[in-house]
Point group: C4
Chain length 365, copies 4
C-alpha cells in the first residue's frame, strides 16, 4: 500500500530498547514479509506465552553492592565472548536487507559476540564467514538423508564454522511465505523429488517424517565431527538427557519462537527442569521470547549458559543493516549490565536463581 521507507545508514534517534526498533522495521518491510517474521503457528498461543513467561519472574534490587569490577564475559567452547547474546539462526535474511546474513554476522563480530548461520541462509556460507572475519556457528537442518546431510556438514566445516547447532524441532517445512526468486536457500542442493505416496499412506507420517532425523541419526552425526555439537529445539528433560548421553556438547531450549507446534509451554517454563536434568554435563542455551536485557538476566538466572535472540536483531537488520544489528546487540548488553548493576551482580556466573523471585500468579499486562 504505502511505499516502503528506505534503509537507514545511521541508527535512529531516541532508541532505548530493542523494541523501539519495531516500528522502524515494520515500515521498511512489505507486509507479507513482516507477517512472516512476526507470526507464530496456528493460534499463536505459544508465541504469546513466550514473552509472558518472563513477567512471572521478578528481579530484586540489591542496592549498595560493590559491582565496580562487573562485566558480562563468558567462555563457550573455548571462545571468550564479551557477552552471552548469540544471534539465533534465522532463514533468508536478504528478505530484510540486501546485506542479509553477512550484515548480521559482521555486527555480532563487531560486538565481540557470536552468531549462528541458518541452513536456509540466502548468502553462501563462505561469503558470510568472510564478512564476519571470525569463525561462526552453523545451524544444521537434516537434509533428507545422511549422505546429503554429511555433504552439507563437510562444506560447513571446510568453510571454517566452529560449532554445529542441529535443529530438530521443525521436521515439517510449512512454507508460509512465497520467496522471491532472488532469495533462495543458496547453500542447499535442490530437494530430491518427493517419493510418491501409496493411496492409504499419510503425507505426514510416510512423507515428511520419513525424511526427518531420528535419534540414531543424531548418534551418527555426533561421529561425523569433533566440533561442538548442540541440539536445538529441546523442551523435554528426558530428551535433554539423551542428547547429552549421546555425546553432544549441549542444547538449545527453544520452541522455535512459537513457530512450530502451537500449544507448547512457554520456552522459559521448560528451562529449569532441563537445567537440573543436565546438571552441568553440557551447555544449556535458551531462546524464544527474549526482548530485552532483563529477559536475558532471567533466563541466565534460571540456568541458561547463554541466550539466543531471534526476531529483535532482524528489526535492527531491516532498519539499518549491520549497524542496526550491532546497535540491538549493544542495547541488550547495556540493559543486561544495568540489570546486573541494580541487582548487585558483578558477573554472569553470579546470576543465579537466588537473584530472582518466581511468582505463582503470572503478572499479565
Amino acid at each position: 500500500m504505502n511505499e516502503l521507507l528506505p534503509k537507514l545508514s545511521t541508527v535512529p534517534e531516541g532508541i532505548h530498547s530493542p523494541s523501539d526498533y519495531l516500528p522502524y522495521a515494520k515500515e521498511r518491510l512489505p507486509p507479507e514479509i513482516w507477517r512472516y517474521l512476526e507470526e507464530g503457528s496456528a493460534n499463536n498461543v505459544s508465541l504469546q506465552a513466550n514473552p509472558h513467561a518472563f513477567d512471572s519472574i521478578h528481579l530484586i534490587p540489591r542496592p549498595l553492592s560493590d559491582v565496580r569490577s562487573g562485566h558480562t564475559k563468558i567462555t563457550l567452547f573455548g571462545q571468550t565472548l564479551a557477552h552471552p547474546v548469540i544471534l539465533a539462526p534465522l532463514a533468508y535474511q536478504q528478505l530484510y536487507h540486501p546485506h542479509g546474513e553477512s550484515a548480521s554476522a559482521m555486527a555480532a563480530s563487531a560486538q565481540e559476540g557470536q552468531s549462528c548461520v541458518s541452513s536456509l541462509a540466502s548468502q553462501t556460507l563462505e561469503d558470510i564467514i568472510s564478512a564476519a572475519g571470525q569463525p561462526l556457528w552453523f545451524q544444521l537442518y537434516w537434509q533428507e538423508n545422511r549422505e546429503r546431510t554429511l555433504k552439507l556438514l563437510q562444506r560447513t566445516i571446510a568453510a571454517g564454522y566452529n560449532a554445529i547447532i542441529f535443529t530438530v524441532d521443525a521436521p515439517v517445512k510449512q512454507a508460509t511465505i512465497q520467496l522471491p526468486t532472488t532469495i533462495q536457500p543458496i547453500n542447499l542442493d535442490l530437494p530430491a523429488p518427493f517419493p510418491a505416496l501409496l493411496p492409504q499412506q499419510s503425507q505426514v507420517f510416510n512423507g515428511w517424517m520419513a525424511q526427518a532425523p531420528r535419534w540414531e541419526d543424531l548418534a551418527w552425526l555426533r561421529d561425523q565431527t569433533s566440533l561442538p555439537l548442540l541440539v536445538k529445539g529441546i523442551l523435554h528433560s528426558e530428551d535433554a538427557e539423551k542428547v547429552i548421553n549421546l555425546g553432544c556438547d549441549g542444547l538449545v531450549v527453544s520452541n522455535h519462537g512459537g513457530r512450530v507446534l502451537d500449544g507448547t509451554p512457554a520456552s522459559l517454563a521448560c528451562l529449569p527442569p532441563i537445567v537440573s536434568a543436565i546438571s552441568g554435563r553440557g551447555k544449556v542455551l535458551f531462546d524464544s521470547g527474549i526482548r530485552n536485557g532483563r529477559d536475558i538476566y532471567k533466563a541466565l538466572a534460571l540456568g541458561a549458559d547463554a541466550v539466543m535472540v531471534g526476531r529483535p536483531y532482524i528489526w535492527g537488520l531491516a532498519t539499518a543493516g549491520a549497524l542496526g544489528v550491532a546497535h540491538i546487540i549493544r542495547l541488550l548488553r547495556d540493559e543486561l549490565e544495568l540489570t546486573m548493576a541494580l541487582t548487585g551482580t558483578a558477573s554472569i556466573q553470579e546470576i543465579t536463581q537466588e537473584k530472582i523471585q518466581i511468582s505463582r500468579n503470572q503478572n499479565r499486562n
Copy 2:
C-alpha cells in the same frame, strides 16, 4: 442486510485450519441462523470456558522420535475408522445448506469416519443413510413417553443405523430460532398437545420434566435394542458409572456445546474424573469446544476414545456442502497427524496423559 454469498462448489483457497472457514460460513448464512448456530446459553460462560480449557493443556514436542509407521486408525464397536473424528448430531442441517444432513453424512463416509444423525434432522433418516452409503449413528431424543420413543427407535434400526446416542442433557426445549416452514423435524411425530397445568403447578417441574426421561427409562431403553447404546451429556462421574452399570456401551462427555445450562464447567474439565470412574468398562467420547487437531490430541490424552465435533463441520457445510464438510474433517485429521508426529506419537493408543502437561494457571489470550 447485505446479500448472502452463494455456496461454493470447490473448497476455498488458503485454508489451513477449520476456523479459517468461519468467515466463509458467516457470510453465507442469515444473521439469525448464524447466531443460533454459534450461541451458547444465557451469559455464554460455559460456551467460552469450553475452548479456553484446552489452553491449559500443553503439548511437549518430542523430536527425533520414529513415527514412520504412524496412523490415526481406531476401532469403535467393531467398526474401523480412519480417524477418531465423529460428526456430532446437530439439528436441522438444511438451515445451512440445501443438502443438509445427507451432505454431512456423505462427507464423513468419504473421509472414512463416522457421523451421528440428530433426532431433529431435517431430512428423512432413510435418505440420509442412503446418501452416506454406510451405516450411521443415530442421536435419540426422548419422545415424551416410551411408546413414542420406541417407535422412533424401531424406525431408526430398520433404516440401518448401527449405534444409538441417547442425549439426556437437554430435557427442556428452548427454541431460540423460528424455523422456516420448509425445515422441520421431519422424522418426528407432531408433539402431543401439552397437558394443561393446574394453577399451582410449575411449567418446569410439572410440564417439561414430566416428559423428560429418567434413569428407569434408560434401563428400559437398554432392553429395547442390542445396538451399541451411548448416553450423551454426562458430566458427573457418578452418572457415568450409573450409565455403565445399566449396561450401556459408553457415553459422551459433553455440555452440549455450552447451549443448555450456563455455568457448567468446561466439558474438558469433566473428562478426567469420568475416565477414571469408568476405567475402561465402556467407551468415553468427548465433545464441546474442539476446534482443531491439537484439541483432539488433548482430549484423547485426557482419556477420550474418540471425539465429536459440532459447529466446525457446519462451517464447512454452510460454505461448500459435502465438499466443505469433508475438507474440515481432513483438516482436523491432518492437524492431528502433525501433532502426533511432532510429539513422537505413532498411534491413537499412544496418546496418553504422559504426553501432555497440565498447567495450573489457565493460559488465556
Copy 3:
C-alpha cells in the same frame, strides 16, 4: 440529552432474563439516577467482585433425575413463600417510578414472595403495606439515638410489618445524589442538627460514628421487639456469631451491593465461613451480585436460606412498575426452577454444596 421513554404498561417482548430489562430501564431514567442506582463506591472493586464471584462456582447437570415433584417453596419465620427471592430494601423508589415502593411490594405479594421496605422509603409505611395486602419486612436504619430509633420501630410494628432487618454496614451517609424535593425519606423525622465539632475533632470519628449504633444498641434493640430481627451487612464470621448470641433471628450476608466500603471481598466469598459459624442457629440470608436464577442456586448451595435481590428488580420497576417487578421475580424463579431441574434438585433443601463445584481459578469473561 435524549428524552426519556415513557413507562410501559405491559412487559416488553423477548425478555429471557432479568438483565434483558437493563436497556429498557436505562432509557427510562435520567442519567444521574441511573448512575446512582448502578454505582458502587470508590473504584468499584467490590461492585465488580460481586458478580464475578459467582463465575467460580460451577453447576453440574444431573440428567435423568426424577424432579417431577419439584418446587421452590420455603418457610421463613413461620411464613411460607413460593420461592426464596426477597426484594432487598432500596431507598427512594419513586426515583424510578411514580408508584415507588408500593409497586414493588405489590409485585412481591403477587408472586407469593416477600419484600423489605427501606427506612428511606419515599412513600409512607402504611401506604406501602396496604398496597401489598400482606405483612412486609422493614429495614431499619439507626436514627442517631435510641429514642428516635424506638419511635420509628414502634410505628413500623403498628403498621403491621412482621420482621425487622437492621442494616448496620452504612453508618456514614454519603449522599451521591441530589434528591428532587418531591422525593424524601418521608417516614423519618428531620435529622437533629449535627453537633458542632471541636477544632481537633474528626468528622468521621466524633461526628458520624458518634451517631452510629454499637453492639450494646443491638442488644437493646433486641429487647424492644419480639418480631424476627435480622442484622444486615455482616461479612465477618465473628460478627455473625455475636449477632446470634445476642438473640437475633438471623442476618444478611451483604456488602450492600458494593456501595459502602470499596475493597471488601465479594459478598459470596464471605458466605461459607458465616454459614459454618452459625451452623443453623439462625437464618442466613444473602445479597449482593445476584443477577439470575443460577446465582440464586449457587448462593443457596453455599448455605444461604434465602436471597435478597437489589438492582435487578428496580430495572423492572423503572420499565413497567409493579408489572415489571413481578416479571423480574417470575423470571428469577423460572431460572431457579430450570437450574434445579437440570441439576436434579427437587427442593430448596436439596440445594447443597455437593451440587456445585468450586473452581480455584475464577472464570472471568
Copy 4:
C-alpha cells in the same frame, strides 16, 4: 497542542478522592512533563504491579464497633504527626507549579504531617524549610564521593532538617526529561566531569557504579550525623537487616514508584517479609502505588509504620499549588478515617494483619 489551563486558586468542586485531581493536573501540564511524572521504567510492569497489589488485599467491615475515640495520630522519631501520610521526595517540583517544593512542604505542615525534600529540589533547602515553618525531612542522594556528600549533608543539617532519607535504589541517573534552564537541582554542586573510560570499560560498571554508594559508605554516613537516618529503596529482607545492623533508624520499602528497575515485584509484595525481618528494631515506611486511604490502611495492616505518597500530591500541586496538596493530604486522611471507622479500628496501632484478608487470586479490574 491545546493551551494549558491556568492554575486554580481554590480547590475544584466535586472531588471525592485524590484521583479525581488527575484530569485537572493533566490539563495544566505540558504533555512531556505529565509523561515524565506518570511514567515507569521500560515496559511499566512494576509501575502497574504497584497499584494492582492492593487489590488482592481485602478489607472486612466490622460494624457496630465503638470507634468514637478514633484518631490517626502517630509518633515518629519523637515528633507527633496528625496522620501517617508523608510526602515522598520528588525532584524538581517547580516543573508542576511555580511555588514548587515550598508549596508542598507548607501544605504538609498545614495538615500537621511531614514532608521529605528531594536532593533534586528546584528551590533552596533554606527557602523550603522557611516556607514550611517546621523542621522537614531531607532525601539524600549520594554525591559521587564522601566529601561532596558530606558537604550536602552538613548544609542540610544546618538548614534545620531533622531526618535524613538516604535513597539508594537509583544509582544510575537516566534523564528522561529535558529540564528547562530555569529549573535545576539548585542545591547541588555541578557534577564532576565524568572520568574517561578505558576502551574495554563499561559505562555502567566502571562509570556510574563507580560513583554509587556502597555498604561501607552507608556505615560512614551513619557516623556523620545523629539525626534519624532511613534508607529508601529496600526490597530485600537481607538488605533491611543490614540497614538496621548498621545502626540506621529505619527504611523505606519502595520500588521508586516503578521508575528504576522494571520487573521488581510490587512494592507491597516486599513489605511483609521486611517487616518480619526487622521485627520492630527500626521504623518501616512504605511507598509506591498508594492512591487512596484504603491503600494506606492496607500498607499499615501489612506492617508499615507510616507511608509516603508520591505522584498523587503532585496532582494537587499542579492543579492548585499548596492548596491542592493540602486538599490531597486531607482527602487521604479522610479516607483513612472512614476505612478505620468501617472496619472498627480506633487507632493506627490497631491496624494489624488480622484486619485484612489476603486473597490468593489477585483481583484485577
